[in-house]
Symmetry: C2
Subunit: 211 residues, 2 copies
DNA sequence: CAATACATAGGGGCATCCCCCTATCCGTAT
DNA sequence: ATACGGATAGGGGGATGCCCCTATGTATTG
């Protein structure tokens, strides 16, 4: 099985490569430090399976890269690797088309298991969520990850970062009044009464891998 | 050199162990998944060098564990491993007494370098900060990590979480006016002009490993 | 075709925040 | 002893935010 490893942390990537190479039937064909590099190297080396971290820099995160990779090489299998075990992450993983999902805290043998299963065309999601929940999410492929619209998400993100309505309005090229409306719609949709509930919802859902 | 590896992510830990074992003069004597386990195993196996992640669960993070480890075994050397390259982290590392500091994004060879140097009694801090800045921080061992007072830090933290002045005042049992004053003092101290700069400073310094 | 969702924008009004002051009390350091 | 930093609190005024309302254009969907 030809595997490519994608992770922006050099040290971690090297360690994972050694882990993979300890299996006789795995060959690490390439490794990349970001999404763009991954797309290029996948074309050149044509790996069977790509093992990819979700948190990556330069705007091209693991989800986005997975989508593009599968579009580019439809037969490629992708296993996402992350420390996050939250519904929003798993839903995004499913919607990105990833074939596998494993946690950094999981056992070393899960890594091989995941690659083996997806190589043979099987799905492999190892999370704390139940198989039923995963199945349900697979059937809801079109359901938005967030109850908020894209615009509302942008407004919320900028609000968490402390920008005033006026500043947000300038950034998004709309009027401050519209920003107010978006905020008010967010509060209604999520059935929130106080500003701090909205901020904390935003932090939890859009900044959980802040760094 | 007998080395112990401490990281709560099993997969990452196993990878790093393989990386270390590829060096002939390094022997991985033990590995631990949290701070408590690390303290116990360090007693039992007496490693020369401990390579430890900073972000760890159960309240006992890398800094705290380092302090306790050095108190328990004064001849032990600790190398901290993290993805954070920010002044606050490095200052805390210095104050915890850690002998080395390397980033997950750094090169594989830095890992060996760090262990080799601290084993031979030298300090090894590989960050984007200049050697002068590190030297300065070493001389300021007692200086608080934050330029803000404890009260200001509390106010900032609650502000980031979206609480209004009135709500913060109630939580801290002070008047809303005093909260305003603290905020204004924060802005002056940090030489900030806009609210979002303060919020983002707060996020960076008090919520960087949110999850 | 009608209904719905989404993004846009404004009016009016009240609450809150932010900024520039002044002020007191306490503890520590020079 | 005096000076300084830290925490507390208030006045006044202008800016901003938030809430309730109305309104329009577009796109999608039943």
């Amino acid at each position: 099985m030809k595997v490519m490893v994608v992770d922006d942390h050099d040290l971690i990537r090297k360690g994972i490569i050694l882990l993979l190479e300890s299996y006789a039937d795995i060959e690490v064909a390439a490794d990349a430090g970001d999404g763009n590099e991954a797309l290029v190297l996948a074309m050149q080396t044509e790996p069977d399976v790509v093992l990819m971290d979700i948190s990556m820099p330069n705007g091209l995160d693991g989800f986005t890269t997975t989508k593009q990779l599968i579009q580019q090489q439809p037969n490629i299998k992708v296993v996402l690797l992350t420390m996050h075990d939250e519904e929003a992450y798993i839903r995004q993983a499913i919607q990105s088309g990833a074939h596998g999902y494993i946690l950094k805290k999981s056992q070393g043998s899960d890594l091989y298991e995941a690659i083996y299963h997806v190589y043979h065309g099987q799905r492999y999601y190892r999370t704390d969520l139940s198989e039923e929940q995963i199945e349900k999410m697979m059937k809801e492929k079109e359901k938005p990850v967030s109850p908020l619209t894209l615009r509302e998400q942008e407004v919320l993100r900028l609000t968490v970062l402390g920008y005033t309505n006026k500043e947000i309005a300038e950034k998004l090229h709309i009027s401050a009044k519209t920003v107010e409306n978006h905020k008010s719609n967010i509060m209604n949709k999520l059935d929130l009464k106080q500003k701090h509930e909205m901020i904390q919802y935003g932090i939890k859902n859009y900044f959980s891998d802040m760094r």
